[in-house]
Amino acid sequence: VDLDLVEQAQRGDREAFGILARTRADRLYAIGQRILRDVGLAEDAMQQALVIAWRELPSLRDPARFDAWLTRLLVNACYAEARSRRAWSANVRVLPIDGPASSDASQEIADRDQLERGFRRLPPDQRALLVLHHYVGLSPTEIAETLGIPAGTARSRLHYAHRAMRAALEADARPAIAQGGA
């Protein structure tokens, strides 16, 4: 963490915060895109997190925790973006991939599509946990510190997120039944 920059920004130095924002933007965007599965929403979440970070920075007690705090702001911004687009997303109907799946490439695409659908079925908080663990590489304890929840809760939620993902993939493997009931 660039402690000097954080402290300067806390004192209202916009230039210092601009440097912090530029060096964190890619990471925030990449995390947001993986949670929200949408480039536009991820950009909005990144912007929202940075604006809130700037506005609330004087209240950050420990500058060394700037990055963890910023990640939490981003996750919260992702929740807000997901909520604001829930009605729209609910109307999206996922269509099965047509065509033969004989080649390895086609199978790979089908698998990825299945994963995408399964992941999108998860609520945003479970997606966030999975992204922080599998993409950012945080341990359950680090996730707990980042999100401000007890470590046991983080472990439990991560367990349920894995289970939900597995269930979502299994549900996706039964498209005929699911679509027949829709």
């Binding site: 890619d26 700037w54 209240s59 007690r61 894995h162 597995r166």
Partner: protein, 187 residues
């Protein structure tokens, strides 16, 4: 994809895919929004700019205790015996040359000067506690859990710290404990 380890492996691979770099346009848009946003400043904000805010808080509390103890000493200190000569109004004490405002220790005695007080500065936190050189004050060095404690009259003032491994959760606590038995120095 049924075993948990399979799920984890698949998620590792799945989430590794995707964009890593945000567009310059999006960054510019965010910076523009930041430029239009004022920074929120609460009443306590200036204190939070201090890197060593926790020791500063301790020092502040230590100073508060010293001031409070001085007041308590003034109020609860030795009084003229009942039936003795009535207290007569006296002229206000002249300004003290000491660095800290002086206060009368009792009705008849001279004002005490903080310049002669015993001082202790913690090497760990940097704050200083000062107390008069009399039997009312007893200082014991800090342990791992207690930063300092001071006995004033029949009360024990304790400075304690929370978990220093999580400085963002740091809190300084001040508590008083009424001591049993006779008060030191009041025989």
């Amino acid at each position: 994809m049924t075993a948990r380890s399979d799920i984890e492996r698949v998620l590792d691979s799945f989430l590794a895919e995707g964009p890593e770099d945000v567009s310059d346009r999006a960054v510019l848009r965010a910076l523009t929004a930041i430029d239009r946003t004022p920074q929120r400043r609460g009443l306590l904000a200036p204190w939070r700019h201090i890197r060593m805010h926790a020791p500063a808080r301790l020092a502040l509390m230590a100073a508060a205790v010293v001031i409070a103890a001085g007041g308590a000493l003034y109020v609860l200190g030795p009084r003229p015996q009942a039936g003795g000569p009535a207290a007569t109004p006296t002229a206000a004490p002249s300004p003290s040359p000491s660095p800290v405002a002086a206060a009368p220790s009792d009705d008849a005695g001279p004002p005490f000067h903080t310049a002669t007080w015993t001082r202790f500065t913690t090497s760990r936190y940097g704050y200083t506690v000062a107390w008069p050189n009399n039997a009312y004050w007893i200082y014991s060095p800090a342990s791992e859990e207690l930063a300092a404690f001071v006995v004033v009259g029949n009360r024990l003032y304790v400075f304690a710290e929370s978990d220093a491994r999580q400085p963002e959760l740091f809190s300084a606590y001040l508590s008083t404990v009424k001591l049993p038995g006779e008060t030191p120095g009041q025989s």
